[in-house]
Amino acid sequence: MHWLSCRKTITLCIVFRVLFALGLDFYLSPPTSYAYYADNGDKVVEFINTGPGLLSASSPLTLYANLKESLWLYQRGMDPYGSGIGQVGVSPLYLAFSFFPTIAESGPLKTQLLSKLFGIFLWTAPDAFSAWFLVRIWKARASSRTSTNSSSSSITFVLPLIYLLSPYVILSSLARSTSVWENAILLGAIAWACESESEFKTKPKLNNSNSKSKSKSLLFLALRVHLSLDALILLPPLILILLGSPESRLAEPGPFALYVAKRRSVKKQPEEKLPNEPAENHLRSTILRAALNVLFEFMVYWTALALISTLIVGHWRWMSTTWGTSLSLPSMTPNPGLWWYFFTEMFDHFRPFFLVVFNVHLLMYVAPICIKFQHDPLYALFILVGILATFKSYPTLSDHGLFIAFWGIFPEVYPYLRHPFPTTLVLIHSALLQPLFAHLWLSHGTGNANFYYASTLVGACAGGMAIVDAVWAGLRIALERHGKRELKFVEGEEREIVTQQ
């Protein structure tokens, strides 16, 4: 029943989104004034990229115009990557879809509506998938919960709403930023990881395609990493999910191995403490071996995709234009992130040093967060998604949209948030100021770069506040639950209770 309601919600939202996009298109280019050049919704893209989504809706890596340009060049036998170094290019995998524009290209008037619909569908469908994957992630997380609470049904209803009606996501979709595809692929990878069953998972699943979903998950993550390299930092938590489970264990922290061991023993001895030394060592090596297996499988997919890309374009230089771009920041096009103005204003001789610092800074969060949240890897992944949205080199609004939507999966931490209200206000503040200041700077000419920079800085503060609060609440929840349980045992006794660290 819940499933049905979730599907209905998604369908309704998608219908609304398609109608909205069509309406906007008709409003911007009424059918009577159809030019010879079928714009295929380019008017809408232009409206978003020069209007509300100016600078923020798409980065050079995800810009629709860059995608179309690459496809155009590729179709005419020209190399869209040129000499490689310093170029900004889309992944060669997109070039495999070079037949899309030819489908969408329309001459006579009667097919224009169809081609418009096709274009809209192409950039709305990934959002529908994303919402559906979000619900599946939530279900996988909630399925193990002993107390099937009533909020479960409302969450499946609310999650698609958060994602599909988020202005961030809608803007990216209308701007035809490829980031909506990237989000869908990432969420697919996470959803299948949550649904997969490893050798350490004992819970029987409804479907028997568990190893298949593990492979699907790794394949999708490899695909996502291919489209933009930043998703690589989501690989460790995803492996943890594949080995462990997406269950909500925030309240019961413990070492990953212990947790896996508990799952293995299938509740034979619920009060069992740490296994003895050799068994523990054996368990650790088993986990390590399994992790290496998963990593190997991922590398196989990744290499295969790299080979396919090379076959498509015929050389290796695409790597520096797609992956190298997010590392070396050749384009200083403003975006909601922190990098562009910093490196615009950076002194030339410090540029390589700070490029390394900024890249390492992103990597630096991975290990501590995965270690701290090893009992709940999905939560670690959620925090890393937030860190990516705030700190990656070419973020767009859809990255923030993904982070916001992810909050819906973790309702258990809400009571422990310290400052949700100020965070929301700062976020709204930044979201409203960004297009305004971008306009004042670039179109109106009455502002300057500092205006937009200030609004992105506020946006980064909002992202940072949300991340810090998420980390805090995720750890704080353990104290509450754990504390309560411990208190029962030690009632009356005066002592200090230290939670697991």
């Binding site: 115009a65 310093g86 490196f343 615009t344 204003e345 630096m364 705030t390 503060c461 940072g464």
Partner: protein, 565 residues
């Protein structure tokens, strides 16, 4: 004493030998033409031919011993540069102003693009050696001409495929020849470039036609440019130095007459011919109609041109043309009389449209003045700061969309911060039609160190070049005269130049703040501390207090900071 006299005699003999050496030939020529709008264009050309010389084979660059360079008329400083970098063909022009093709017609020297333009044909077996020599010749010429040719670096260098065929011949060494082309629209030509230019002439500006090159008048002209062309023909290496200018006698004249003479145009006369010049000629193009007088009496009139040989006479030359009536602006009579026949087969305007600093539209309007269909080779060498979106190319012919009129597109992608884009294509103009070509462009955001000191002024974009293609059935494709569009100015978004420290500090602060907060929380140990002994179980929880005040008070448990406890 004997030894000295022998030495003197030998010196004398050798100098006589040198003078009789006919391996070098120097010719000077000036052609003057009255233009439709009353202006006068003068085109000087000084040609030195080094007979039987061939350019240096780049494979001999590895050996230091080149042939000895003894020139009498050929400029040595230039010859050294040409041999050191093994240049086969070289063209350098420094121009200021916009050549108005519609009223002035084609110029005598086709390279009239605004600013500095340098192109060279070089043979070489490897690209790197060619690029090194290209850099060397750039810097050497920058030193020779006191011009900022060093700024014609990789960010401006292109190798167009078709637009610049070699003017001379290319020696057949079994090596491929490569073209390097660079232009810098904001470079200005001035006296400091003319002085070294005159030094390359055998008579400097002391005698001959070069006497007329008065900097005060040249750089006062409405359009002026100097050029250096080196090319190889089977008979030898030719160096052509030319100066072109468009002066406005109406501006100088008090009566509004278009009369001109050497004296009025250059404030000088030719007192004596250059003794080493084999010929010193002046040609004056005679007006098509009207009453006028050319003085002194021409020695020869041929094809509507009056010719003078300045070698013949020893008196001072002051050639000129006089009209009895004031100049009449024909544009006033456009409605009454039929329009003048077009001087050029097509006219072009190029614009960069769009109000914002992040995107724009490149628009080109071409008008075919002829009945026949015209094919044009269109070349854009665009710096990477303006990025083309080729998928948005729209072509209209008389407001009818005609995508088929653009063909043979070749495109070299730009590399941000490194290399410009090269876009070449063929446009077909149907007879008596107007073709509109437009394309969306994205404007780049630059690092603050990449902006010029006057960043708000904008960037000069190099001119586009249109070359008519004369295609006939039995002949290979040949190119007509190049047409340069004026340069464009692009307005790029600027960062705040006073802010580097502030931005670095702000961004680093936010990152450090978030990083610190996250790691502070991650390293926390959450513990429950009960301070008072409980009186009973129910009261025990109520009595717990917060030890640290920084935590929230929503629940009774105490959350305290860090594992320092």
């Amino acid at each position: 004493m004997l030894r000295t006299s022998l030495f003197l005699i030998s010196l004398l003999l050798s100098s006589v030998f040198c003078l009789e050496n006919i391996n070098e030939e120097f010719e000077e020529h000036l052609s003057i033409k009255s233009l439709r709008d009353g202006r006068v264009t003068s085109s000087f050309s000084f040609t030195t031919l080094l007979r039987d010389a061939i350019p240096r084979d780049p494979r001999t660059l590895a050996f230091d011993d080149d042939i000895s360079q003894h020139y009498t008329l050929f400029p040595l400083s230039l010859g050294q540069i040409l041999r050191q970098y093994a240049i086969t063909e070289l063209h350098l022009t420094l121009n200021a102003g916009k050549w108005n093709y519609d009223t002035w017609g084609y110029p005598d020297e086709p390279d009239v693009g605004v600013g500095a333009e340098l192109r060279a044909w070089m043979a070489g077996d490897s690209i790197s050696s060619i690029d090194e020599r290209w850099q060397g010749v750039r810097n050497a010429l920058a030193g020779l001409f006191c011009a900022s040719l060093g700024s014609l670096d990789e960010q401006r260098t292109t190798s167009p495929r078709l637009s610049f065929p070699p003017e001379g011949a290319l020696p057949d060494w079994g090596l491929p020849h490569e073209l390097r082309h660079a232009s810098h629209a904001s470079e200005h030509v001035c006296t400091e470039n003319l002085t070294p230019f005159l030094k390359l002439l055998p008579c400097k500006s002391l005698s001959g036609l070069a006497t007329l090159l008065n900097p005060h008048r040249i750089f006062d002209a409405d359009w002026h440019g100097i050029g250096l062309h080196v090319l190889w023909r089977p008979e030898g290496v030719e160096v052509r130095l030319n100066v072109q200018l468009v002066s406005d006698p109406l501006r100088i004249s008090a009566q509004g007459k278009q009369d001109w003479s050497f004296h009025s145009l250059f404030d000088r006369k030719v007192e004596k011919a250059c003794p080493v010049a084999s010929s010193t000629r002046v040609s004056v193009e005679l007006p098509n109609s009207g009453v006028y007088r050319v003085y002194p009496e021409p020695q020869e009139i041929k094809d509507g041109k009056a010719y003078y040989n300045l070698k013949n006479n020893n008196e001072a030359w002051n050639i000129g043309t006089m009209w009895p009536t004031d100049f009449e602006y024909r544009i006033c009579h456009a409605a009454l009389s039929p329009p003048d026949p077009a001087l050029v087969p097509f006219s072009v305007t190029r614009n960069l449209l769009g109000p914002t600093q992040d995107r724009g539209e490149l628009s080109i309007v071409l008008t075919n003045n002829q009945q026949d269909t015209l094919q044009l080779l269109y070349l854009e060498t665009m710096p990477w700061i303006v990025q083309f979106y080729l998928h948005t190319i729209r072509v209209h012919s008389d407001n009818v969309p005609r995508d088929d009129l653009v063909s043979n597109i070749s495109y070299v992608l730009p590399v941000p911060h490194a290399r410009p884009a090269t876009f070449e294509s063929v446009l077909t103009l149907p007879g008596r039609s107007t073709l509109t070509f437009s394309m969306d462009v994205a404007k780049a955001f630059l690092r603050y160190t990449e902006h010029p000191p006057d960043a708000q002024r904008g960037w000069d974009l190099p001119p586009a070049i249109f070359t008519p293609l004369n295609q006939s059935l039995n002949e290979p494709m040949s190119l007509g005269s190049r047409v340069y569009t004026p340069s464009l100015l692009v307005d790029l978004a600027t960062p705040d130049f006073s802010m580097p420290y502030n931005v670095i500090i702000f961004t680093c602060s936010v990152m450090a703040f978030i990083f610190g907060s996250v790691f502070n929380v991650l390293t926390r140990k959450f513990i429950v501390v009960r301070l008072d002994p409980p009186r009973n179980q129910s009261a025990s929880r109520a009595e717990k207090r917060l030890e640290n005040t920084d935590s929230d008070t929503s629940n009774e448990l105490n959350t305290s900071k860090s594992g320092v406890h």
